[in-house]
């Protein structure tokens, strides 16, 4: 395949970035999108240029590190797929492909396509856990949890923390990410004692980080590689309100 890539290049958060155009004359349809970038980088390095910086690690769709906007869509055109699992056969010979980083104030660019997502970690640190020390836990079967509730908790727990929901949102809202963690614990008995405190503290931190609010366009759900549903946002809003008025 012959492809033309328009790739965002940016030295650091302080320096303005710009698109650079690269021709890839010999891509294979079996390459993953990241392998296409590897391939391009090899030729850039051989030509004495600096390679394009981008994040990735597991390359099997679970670590959440890869984070590219491809043709305007976080993780690219294939639904329920991280960009590391997106393969070039989804594109056509001769295509022009635009590659950008996640764009959101709380995700400042580190270099090229790499952004700083530590704001997500700080939201979890504010309350995304069950406060239990190691040791002394009761027997795992002491508290039965109905399969239906456990399945809902699981559906929320699959979040990989990639940030595609934020990148997709015109408000740069992190509410799908935050609500997934809130919902995981809200649907489990272990999460009940801190339920109110958790939603209040996590939403508070989300606001302090500068993420926007939700205006129900649902782009986050469409971009989520794990298809986490937006109804968790509604659940979180109810929980947040309940926590506030009973404070």
């Amino acid at each position: 395949m012959r492809l033309t890539l328009e790739v965002w290049r940016q030295l650091d958060a302080q320096t303005a970035g710009m698109f650079e155009t690269y021709e890839v004359p010999d891509a294979s349809e079996h390459m993953s999108f990241l392998e296409l970038l590897d391939h391009l980088n090899e030729s850039l390095v051989r030509d004495g240029q600096e390679p394009i910086a981008f994040d990735s690690d597991c390359r099997e769709g679970i670590c959440g590190m890869c984070s590219l906007v491809v043709n305007g869509v976080p993780h690219g055109p294939q639904r329920a797929t991280t960009v590391c699992q997106l393969h070039m056969r989804e594109f056509n010979d001769g295509d022009r492909i635009v590659v950008e980083p996640w764009r959101a104030g709380p995700f400042p660019v580190i270099r090229d396509l790499v952004v700083d997502r530590t704001s997500f970690d700080r939201i979890i640190e504010a309350g995304g856990y069950v406060a239990v020390n190691t040791g002394g836990a009761p027997d795992a079967n002491a508290v039965p949890i109905g399969k239906d509730e456990a399945d809902i908790a699981f559906q929320a727990a699959v979040c990989i923390g990639c940030g595609a929901c934020v990148a997709a949102c015109k408000n740069a809202s992190a509410m799908l990410f935050v609500s997934a963690k809130v919902a995981q614990f809200a649907h489990l008995p272990q999460g009940q004692p801190e339920r109110k405190r958790r939603v209040r503290d996590m939403v508070g931190q989300m606001d302090r980080e500068g993420f926007g609010g939700c205006t129900n366009t649902y782009d986050c759900e469409g971009a989520c590689p794990k298809e986490i549903p937006v109804r968790f946002i509604a659940e979180m809003n109810r929980g947040f309100l309940a926590a506030k008025i009973t404070e």
Binding site: D12, S28, H30, M31, S32, L34, E35, D38, H39, E42, V45, R46, G48, E50, P51, A53, D55, S56, D57, C58, R59, E60, I62, C63, M65, T81, Q85, I110, R111, R117, T118, D121, I124, E125, Y129, V130, A131, V132, T134, G135, A137, P138, D139, A140, V143, P144, I145, G146, K147, A150, F154, A157, V158, I160, G161, Q184, F185, L188, Q190, G191
Partner: protein, 637 residues
């Protein structure tokens, strides 16, 4: 170097309990005066850092990923073993212990494995208390499934992403401590050297991967939880960032490296499709329950597999191992696939692949049943290969997956360097020559939650640890060494990329030290590796500078270490004149092609001591004493 395993005396069942009592404690008020540096934030590192902070120690934790939640433990699929006996099917601590020793081909230390089985129960309790959503029955109780190497159902799981859920549990415990200020977390930070002061590990030197700034972390004890070294093969199921650098640099300071030749090659991975490939993807072993493995009977048969008639196919596992058939153990299945491909009968691009065919199962059970069982795996396969596995057989090939070898540790998980503790896949302790499925997660969390919190207290309470500052000459020297290495890498400015060296090294290790090894091949590899290393240092091209975000430089440092480590791997493989577990020496097999162990001469852990780059390391032996389990032949017939 003296290897003292510090295994407590007395009956197996009470060793750990008695040891816990006999170890010294640190007074609660004094714990905050001790600082521990934890390198790595996977299951072992995150659980250790969180638990040590809960106890009151001051903890620094570093990882090279952008968040501790992304460590490679997250990619584990199948499950985690625990001797809960919830299924009432005869499981017990002793049975889990026995299965693990036997599965490891009798090359692990009994006392460590028994302790692992003992604490396995606590792990499940702890994870459930954290809100880990394990699979459940309608009645609300935890579900189990069975896994290879066991005749009981003791594996707890969370769909096909157990590792993710367990890691997010440990990460949440860690995040709680970070929020409280008891753990200082340093993501995008890579350990480049270990600092030894007066013979004790007292800190690490790091590089900030964003700014390129060097960092110094002083501590009273150092914990390495930095994973395995499968990426020495370049292509493996590991994340692309996984590396041996932290372990290897500790080894160069005198920490013994044990059993590097014990590497696990997983039989069911998606084959390589081209030279551009960056990693191999694992397909769950469970597929072999319903898929039949075959290759064409004749070499170079390029026909569409559906057009190859039944009598021109070779279902080689069913033919060679009639009783186990397609469910032959990992090492056997992997080696058999290699054999048929070596004969020219492999399928797909490059001829390195075998068919895993579901046509019979689909005919027998219907497509919907197969979709129900394996739908997500079939979808993943389709996404990666562009082929529809419901219509044509999958192509699979073995790939490096896990490394049982690692830094040698005693019963307290301390290496031969005082103060340097090693947890999880980075150590060598529990899996012998072969790891059973669903035991890696168990070991990582056992080490972090339930072993190191006790044993590190004993170390801190029993040793005089005068305060060491980061301006100590040893810190300056370590930073100097790390900087010098970076500058050397940047100065070469040759004509070959880092990745091209990694590819060549990986192929070399795979060809000569992969699924089957022999003395001549290993000797050949030991000639070729130093040549490749010399070329690397003369001809590698690393663009950019050290004072910036520079992924080529990161990779260059890791590949430079793999280029030295590969020699250690091959020395160990050549030295061990027997076949056991993941180490198969072609010279040592039965008439039927089975692994032939040599208990008379090799019933020891080989702990290697660094003696200079390019020189054969010194071998030290820890004889393995089996007081409770009788050495037996692992048979699959």
């Amino acid at each position: 170097m003296k290897l003292d395993s510090r295994v407590p005396t007395g009956p197996l069942e009470s060793k750990w309990e008695r040891h816990q009592f006999e170890m010294k404690l640190v007074n609660p008020a004094n714990k905050r005066k001790f600082k521990v540096c934890v390198v790595g934030s996977g299951l072992a590192g995150a659980s250790a850092a969180a638990t040590l902070a809960e106890l009151g120690y001051e903890v620094d934790c570093l990882c090279f990923q952008d968040s501790p939640r992304r460590a490679h433990s997250i990619a584990a699929q199948g499950g985690i073993n625990a001797a809960k006996n919830y299924q009432n099917d005869g499981d017990s601590v002793y049975r889990l212990f026995y299965d693990t020793i036997k599965g490891g081909d009798f090359r692990a230390r009994e006392a460590n494995v028994y302790r692992l089985a003992q604490v396995s129960e606590n792990i499940i309790d702890q994870c459930v208390a954290q809100g880990v959503p394990f699979a459940r029955e309608y009645g609300g109780h935890l579900d189990n499934r069975s896994f290879g190497g066991a005749q009981v159902s003791r594996t707890f799981y969370a769909r096909g992403q157990t590792g993710q859920q367990l890691l997010l549990g440990a990460y949440s415990a860690l995040a709680r401590q970070i929020g409280r200020g008891t753990v200082k977390m340093y993501p995008r930070t890579e350990m480049l050297d270990l600092v030894i002061v007066d013979g004790k590990a007292r800190g690490v030197v790091t590089r900030n991967l964003v700014t390129g700034a060097m960092g110094r972390f002083a501590a009273d004890a150092v914990v390495l939880a930095t994973g395995g070294y499968s990426n020495v093969f370049n292509l493996s199921t590991n994340a692309v960032g996984c590396n041996v650098t932290a372990s290897y640099r500790a080894y160069k300071h005198g920490a013994a490296f044990a059993n590097p030749c014990y590497t696990q090659i997983h039989p069911t991975c998606i084959p390589q499709s081209g030279d551009y490939q960056s990693k191999l993807t694992l397909m769950s072993e469970s597929l072999r329950n319903d898929g039949r493995v075959w290759v064409p009977r004749e070499a170079d048969d390029k026909r569409d597999p559906r057009e190859i008639p039944e009598d021109e196919r070779d279902y080689y596992l069913e033919r060679k191992y009639p009783s186990f058939g397609n469910l032959a153990p990992r090492d056997i299945a992997s080696r058999s696939a290699k054999e048929v491909c070596d004969e020219g009968r492999g399928v797909g691009p490059g001829g390195r692949g075998v068919f895993l065919d579901f046509a019979d199962s689909i005919q027998r059970l219907g497509e919907s049943s197969i979709r129900e069982r394996y739908g997500n795996l079939f979808e993943m396969y389709g996404r990666i290969t562009g082929e529809n596995p419901y219509q044509r057989p999958m192509r699979i090939y073995p790939a490096p997956h896990y490394t049982m070898g690692g830094l040698w540790v005693d019963y307290n998980l301390m290496s031969t360097l005082p103060g340097l503790h090693v947890l999880g896949e980075a150590n060598f302790s529990d899996h012998g020559a072969n790891r059973l499925g669903a035991s890696a997660l168990m070991q990582g969390l056992a080490d972090g939650y339930f072993v190191i919190p006790y044993t590190i207290g004993h170390y801190l309470a029993s040793n005089a640890l005068p305060k060491v500052d980061t301006d100590h000459p040893e810190f300056q020297a370590a930073e100097g060494r790390a900087c010098e290495k970076i500058n050397r890498l940047l100065a070469v400015q040759g004509g070959r990329t880092v990745d091209s060296f990694h590819q060549e090294l990986g192929k070399l290790c795979w060809d000569y030290c992969g699924m089957a090894r022999n003395r001549d091949g290993l000797s050949k590899a030991l000639e070729l590796i130093p040549q490749l290393r010399s070329e690397f240092w003369e001809n590698v091209k690393v663009p950019g500078s050290g004072a910036q975000f520079n992924q080529s430089l990161e990779r260059a440092g890791r590949v430079a270490d793999f280029l030295e480590f590969a020699e250690l791997l091959c020395y160990d493989a050549r030295d061990r004149e027997e076949s056991c577990g993941g180490h198969f020496r072609e010279e040592h097999q039965t008439g039927e092609g089975e692994a032939l162990r040599n208990d008379d001469d090799y019933c020891y852990a080989a702990a290697w001591e660094f003696d200079g780059v390019g020189k054969k390391p010194k071998l030290h032996k820890e004889n393995l004493v089996f007081e409770n389990v009788a050495l037996a032949v692992r048979s699959y017939k």
